[in-house]
Amino acid sequence: MFRWLEKSTDWLVYQLLGLSAESHLSQALHFFVYDTIKILILLLLIIWLMGVVNAYFPVDRLRNFLSRHKLFGLEYFLASLFGAITPFCSCSSVPLFIGFVKGGIPLGVTFAFLVTSPLVNEVAVALFLGLFGWKITIIYAISGILLGVVSGWILGKLNLEPYLTEWVRQIWEKAEADREIFESTHRTFRQRLPEINREAFGIVKSVLLYVIIGIGIGALMHGYVPEGFFEKYLQADTWYAVPLAVILAVPIYANAAGIVPVIQVFVAKGIPLGTSIAFMMGVIGLSLPEATLLKKVMTLKLIGIFFGVVTLCIILSGYLFNLILTS
């Protein structure tokens, strides 16, 4: 799919600029030009596709469905899956949370959605596709969704309702399986299309800078950091590498656009893939800004438990990844 791009980048770097294929500079430049263009194309494509999917399955519909049906466990999976395909905006997580509580949807199911939503999002998927290829992208997406299911299920078992803030608890007590249905506005695909296009370009524009910075750092490291560098100095395969990486990652917040290119270099230079993915999940899945937003609906204790359970699940999945991917 991208052979033409590789050829033109070769031509640009080696012919037009006349750089030797062996130099650090040309390697860095090649990586930068090729990856930036490839990722921008993928970003547009994926965001656009998700826009189309969302036009047909708005989150309102999922909520109504979950509120009215008993699904014997499948609801965790559905909520998590929807978290993955819904475009993530951190400021929508609180209204969503309350909307779910209001509809009498179990807290655990709501958490499943809340965990997966930032973890597997359109920007992360596009970058993974561009930098790691489709196999690892699929592994990432599936494990992100499973992570949501498992943490949601555990959190559901803990009966955490008393730790919601007062006003949310009142909503929860009054919750009924849907009296008020959130009807989605009916518009034709033609009416929606310009909006989907605008949205896709809008998102790409807003992450463009991060992508360029991320790939720029990645490119520099690619060109100048020798193979096996991190392995040598960080002893990446000690048993505590995974938990350490995740615990370091939780307070950091960067969006997927900036972090994936850097992760890719970590992997290329010898850090195990599982450790790197766990680090990335910690960075984009949990963050201090998110915690402050959630403070309006959850007590500190609940936020602590929520973050704790998800952190644990990320650490476990990091070990699991390393096991599966190295064997």
């Binding site: 309102d60 400021c91 929508s92 310009p194």
Partner: protein, 82 residues
């Protein structure tokens, strides 16, 4: 006079929505009072799942996305155009 409320907790999309609404109101010369609602409890009273949302005279007309200028012109226009 119309009462327009923009519901949003302060993210980028919500700010852009406010800008678009203000611009359209100004351009069409509509007599309207624009209010930005950032308190989550007040927002949730409107039964929406995703922000930003636009409320005109207590009716939610846009939710979960940044409105289009044309759309707003139609939604707001019935007073001034007619």
């Amino acid at each position: 006079m119309k009462h327009i409320k923009i519901l949003g907790t302060g993210c980028v999309k919500c700010k852009r929505t406010e800008e678009v609404v203000r611009r359209v109101v100004e351009e069409l010369g509509i007599d309207a009072e624009i209010e930005k609602v950032e308190d989550i409890q007040a927002i949730m009273a409107y039964n929406i799942l995703s922000t930003p949302a636009v409320v005109i005279d207590e009716e939610v007309v846009i939710k979960g996305r940044i409105p289009d200028r044309k759309e707003l012109e139609i939604l707001l226009g019935d007073v001034s155009v007619a």
